[in-house]
Each structure stands twice: as C-alpha cells, then as structure tokens.
Subunit: 430 residues, 2 copies
Amino acid sequence: MEIKSKAHMMKLSSNRMAASSLDMRHGALVAISDSLEANKKEIFAENEKDLKRAEEEGISQAVYKRLKFDEKKLLTVKNGISELMALEDPVGRLLYEKELEEGLVLKRVSCPIGVLGVIFEARPDALVQIATLCIKSGNCAILKGGKETANTNRILFKLIHEAAVKAGLPESALFLAETHSEIDELLSCEGDVDLIIPRGSNAFVRYIMDHTKIPVMGHADGVCHTYVDADADIKKAIPIILDAKTQYTAACNATETLLIHRQAAQKFLPALAKALQDAGVKLRGTKEVYDILKDAPDEKGAGIMDEDIMAEEEFDREYLDLVISIKLVSDVDEAIDHINRFGSHHTDAIITENDETAARFMDMVDSAGVYQNASTRFADGFRYGFGAEVGISTSKIHARGPVGLEGLMTYKYKLYGHGDKLHIVKDFKG
Amino acid sequence: MEIKSKAHMMKLSSNRMAASSLDMRHGALVAISDSLEANKKEIFAENEKDLKRAEEEGISQAVYKRLKFDEKKLLTVKNGISELMALEDPVGRLLYEKELEEGLVLKRVSCPIGVLGVIFEARPDALVQIATLCIKSGNCAILKGGKETANTNRILFKLIHEAAVKAGLPESALFLAETHSEIDELLSCEGDVDLIIPRGSNAFVRYIMDHTKIPVMGHADGVCHTYVDADADIKKAIPIILDAKTQYTAACNATETLLIHRQAAQKFLPALAKALQDAGVKLRGTKEVYDILKDAPDEKGAGIMDEDIMAEEEFDREYLDLVISIKLVSDVDEAIDHINRFGSHHTDAIITENDETAARFMDMVDSAGVYQNASTRFADGFRYGFGAEVGISTSKIHARGPVGLEGLMTYKYKLYGHGDKLHIVKDFKG
C-alpha cells in the first residue's frame, strides 16, 4: 500500500506545491542542475552498474545508447533545465476576466493539475526532464521509470528530491516508484492521482488505459498516413514520403501507410517504389499496387513480394520499422474515410498543390495533426515551438497532439466580492 | 446493439458535421425554432400524455412543473436558441499560429469533439437546449432523457431531427435513445463516443463514471463550503450564508457546510444560528457548536438537537435541503484542509475583509471555484457570462467549473507547407 498512502499524502500537500512561488520553483531547478553537476561521478558510477547488467543481458546497441548517462547526456539535461526556466510561468495566468455585477469580479486563472503519475521508458534523462517539468508547472508527481536504469534513476531521483526540498518545496512533491507491481497500485489511486501520463510501447499504454479510472493522457498507436493526391507535385512527394517513413522509423509520427490517387499512381508509383526500396524500405500493398509495380518497365526490382499483398483489414498495422503499406484510392474522400477508419487520429498528411482539396482533407480527417505538403515527422512539441514536450495525445479531451507545459495545467475560477455591496444570487440581475 | 451501431455510424459522419458551415448550422437552428412553434399543439398534446401518467403515479408539484411543456417553456427554449445563435462560432477559431520554418505555417484551430453522449433529467426543455448546443458546436450527439417525458421527448426530437436534416446536416447528427437499458450500451461505445455528459442525481452520475472507459464531464457531488474568517464582516456573512444555503437548496452549488473561525464564532454564531433557523434551516454540528448555542443567552430556540451532533466523518454530507453542517476551526489553514479533505472540489467561499487571508484560501483550496465574500450559488455558466451552460465539471482534466460551449470543443493542428521548399524533418533547423 505504499503508493496509495504516498499518493494520498501528495494529494494533501499538492495545494502547497501549487501555491509555491516561481522563485521557489526556479530555485529548486537551479539547485537540481547544480547538484547533478556536483555529483556526476556518483551518477556515472551508478549508471555503469545498469550498463553492465544490461550488457550481460545482451541488449542491442540502440538500447545501450538510451540507457547510458554520460557527460553528454548530463549537458543535455542541464540545457533542458535552462530552457525550461526560460519559459513563461504557466501558473497563475489570467485566462478570462469579467465583472459579473458592480464589485464582483470573476477571474479564470491557470493552476497546476495536482498529482500526476508519469510512467516512462528506461532513459535516465527522461527522469530528469519529467521531474523538472513537474516542478516548473507546480505539480506533484509519482515517477516510475524503466527497471533497466534502476540504479541511475535512484541516484538521480535522490539528488533531485533533496535539492527540491532544500529549496522549500514539499517533501511529498515527488516520489519514485521502483517496482513494476507499483504500477497497478498507482492505477488504482483515483481521487488522489489526477492524471496518468504513460510513455512506452503500444501494448503498455493500452494496458494503462484499460486498467484505470484516472484520466490518461497519451497515445497507444501512431498509424500515420501520407496521401498523394492527383494534384501532387511529385518532386515534393518523394522526398517528403522518404522523410516521413525513414527519418526515424521508431517514432509514433512516422508514416505507416501510403494512400495514392489512381491518377497519380500511374506515373508516380514506380518511381516512388524505387526510391523507397533504395532507402531500404520493404513495400507491402494491395493486389492492385502489386500488379502496377510488377508491370513497371523501368524500375526493375522495385516491387511487392507475393506474401506482402495486403488484405483490407491489415491496414491498421503500425510497423515502427522500414516497412510501408500502400493502397490506391479514387479520390480525396476515399482517402479521408480510409484514414478515419484505420488511422489512430495522430497525424496525417496530404501531398497536393490544390488548396481546396487540402482544406477538405484537413477539415475532414479527424486527427490531432493534419498536414499539407509536409512530413508527418513534424508532429513534435519542440518543432511546434512549445519549448518542452510532455507527450503526444490522441485523445480529444483536455490536450490533443504534441503537449507542452500547458497540458499539465488546469484552471480555477476566483470570484472576488469587493466593496460593501452584498454579492448574493437572490439580488443578482445578470 | 442499436446504440452501438448507431454510435459507429455517427462517428463516421461526425467529420461531415464538424465541417458543416455556420450558415448551415444556424439554418438548422432557425428551422428548429420555427418547427417547434408551428407544431406546438402536437407537442403540448404529447406533453399532456406524460403529465397525465405522472399525475397517476402521484408525482410532486415540483416535478410536475419540470415535466410540463407549455407556451411559456416554448418561449424559453426559443429565446435560448436565439441567444445561442448570437454567440460567436466556436468552430474554426485560431488558437495558436507559428511559422516553424520559412513557408511552413502551424495553426491550432478549434473543432468539435465529435460524438457526445448526453444523459439528462426529465425536462423537455433540456432536450431542446442540449440538441441545439450540439448543433451550434458541430457535434453529433446521442441524447437520452428521463422516461417521465418520453412522449414529449419523442415529438420534440422528431421535429428537431427533421429540421436539422432538412437544413443539410447529416442524418446521423442526432439520435434519441429511448430506453434505460440503452444507457449501458452507450457507456460501452468507447472509440465511437468521445465524451459522456451525465446530468442527474449523484448516485446516477457516480454510476456513469464507474461504468465507462469514455471520458465523463460532470460532477457527482456538490459539497460546497462557506468559511467565516476571524476578519469577516458579520453584516456580509449572514446574508451571504442565507443566500448560499437557502436560495435554491437542490442546486449543486448550495453551501452544505459552514466553517467558522473560533474568534468569529463567539460573537457571531448565535446570531447566524437564529437567522438560519428563522429561514427554516435545520442546524447540525460538532459538540463544540452545540455547546455554544445551548449557552447563548439571547437567541432562544436557535440550537442543535442532540441527535444532530456530528462526528468528524459525517462532514462529507450533501443535504440538497434546508439542513447545514457547522464546525469551528482555529485558522484559515484548518479550514483549507477540511475543505480539501471533505469537499467535492466544486465551489467554496471565504468571508473575510483580509485580502491576504482570502488569497491564501483561494490559492490553497483545490476547487473549481474559490470565492471571497460572495455566495457559492454564483457557480453557474449563465452568471459567469458564458451565454450557455453545458454543465458543471469537478474534473481537472479538459473543462473545470461551469462549462460553456468551449467545453464541447477540442482543437487540431493544421500544418501548411507552402512554396517550393521541401518541408522535411531531416533538414529542419528549428
């Protein structure tokens, strides 16, 4: 029951955290940055333990890179803290003001959500980033990182927590959950935890969403589409699609499905197929696509294998790899319907020079991001100019798309009765 | 399975509803208003059937008034439609704009949430109000009203739906669920229904919240507090408390608990008790309050009955009646802690002339509304100036407090790649 009682204590002290001054919160951020620098040898030593165990377990080079916390990562998180401090205070912003009657002033003012539960992947820098985002936004948080970096997380959290409390923030502002079983306990803390933010694999996020009554901000799938319209400029289409598919295949905003207008397909598909295959992308698609590529005279070798001919219902696949699904459509409306049916409401793009067609696509596709002539990979809080990214949400409630600091905020209404007049509803004229 | 398949059809046509022009939506609203007027005899006749059955079942005068739909109610809903049309279009508002790189323009634009499920009390005027709010905001909706007004709801819905479709809105824009069993079916439509808005009793709203994975906007309890500080002006305190308790006891924003600073209690409690009892309010409270009132020399008869002495854990009671709980506290911090522990995060007030104490209370009380020297009864979308109220939310996610049209909106990011430059992430400098 440790998490449950901890969450309840956090809830009770979350108003002190919410009312903490910007000076105090910034004081904590400076102290954290300094403490990480001053204790870096200890941090690196703990990180070595994690790396050693990971190597013994035979992890890939890519995972090793993510687990590693060295001088370079330290500099990155310190720069992140500086950038976070440069952002405007999200607490106490006046969002609406109205004098309801003489002397009765209503103000809508931003305030922290309260207690967050953040579950994140095995990356020590993520722990620092998330903890400092919570401090800047005046939120209390229960943090749960990946077990592969348990030693690094423990030392980083200890230093962060010490510095925050020393700066005057509540003892219960931050808590590190260390075992996997605590996740289920955290999910049952409705009433005390206000929002869960999960990061990680689709299956994991789906599990979180299915096992809690607490609101969840995040996304499970990222089945993003790029639709090549009849009026597409081929010179743009190929490089944009290559970027959307190959620039970072493991990202949720990578394009997984290509829809092509039949008119465009005739001249364009063989060249595109060749470009994708040259970039190492395996093609999958409908029998119609298979047939066009088989008969394309000039693009030898660019085609679909027999076993990669796709049935309609397979078009919800998220590969997160150098693989792409291809289908032809008769018009933009068929593309819209396909995306709304098979997509994950994340980010979808149209390649067209026809602004009217683009407007239709962008109004009718029900996704957090709808793009004209740009790579779906742009769906990112930093690229959007938010200065910090909390996550990407495919929900339509609260925050949608890449979420900056404001996703960690709510508001309250403050009503001030000034003067000698009695502010009672019985006499209110409106 | 009717609701499930209907919800899925709605989801598929929700983008057409979302992209409908303001002209079309306003055309529908005018047509609805005209049709209700033109068919009022038929509506009143159907309403008579409901009233007759209700009388046979022996309903109270108050409920009878709510069920009745006559010329006066018709005028009210028609005026409501006119006021709704006067509100700014909530769809397509530009909320954020940034040029990410030369020629690449990001816009955050408001758009409808999609498919709503609204479950509301037995009041025919509520059906018209909710249906027209959904049309104005471009949302599709499944409506479920109280069974006591089934006949009136059926004719009202038929007229509304006919007028909306004739004006060009999708056939699937609105659907009326008619049986209670359909509520459970509606609650299982996650993926198709984006938001549930329940109105009704605490137990009912709690049931909804506990039995769906769809986000729910609303509030179960309204345990509102008024705290009388040591620096309170007694001339304000008594009328504000009387208003907060008695002006409309069945409302969620009526004050249920009175907290009084011990210094204020000495001089103030007997007079307040007398005023409340004169207004017909039954007093309940701690032994300490009981003792003060028993010994008060000048206020004969104003006291607490033995059986109304309260234990600490009873202070979460919502009476919705002429009953109030009273407790003394040592300072504002004790009042804050009590409210955060026992309240429902709805609306809480402090009566004080000390602005510093008020600021502390308003920062530290974790409620949607925090008031200084005003009645808690002000928590209302119309009084707040929103022009229309969708409901009141005690959630901190999405909308909080009284919710106007904007609570039915979300946003999407539209990214426009202009010009000949390739907008790909590989080349993006940020």
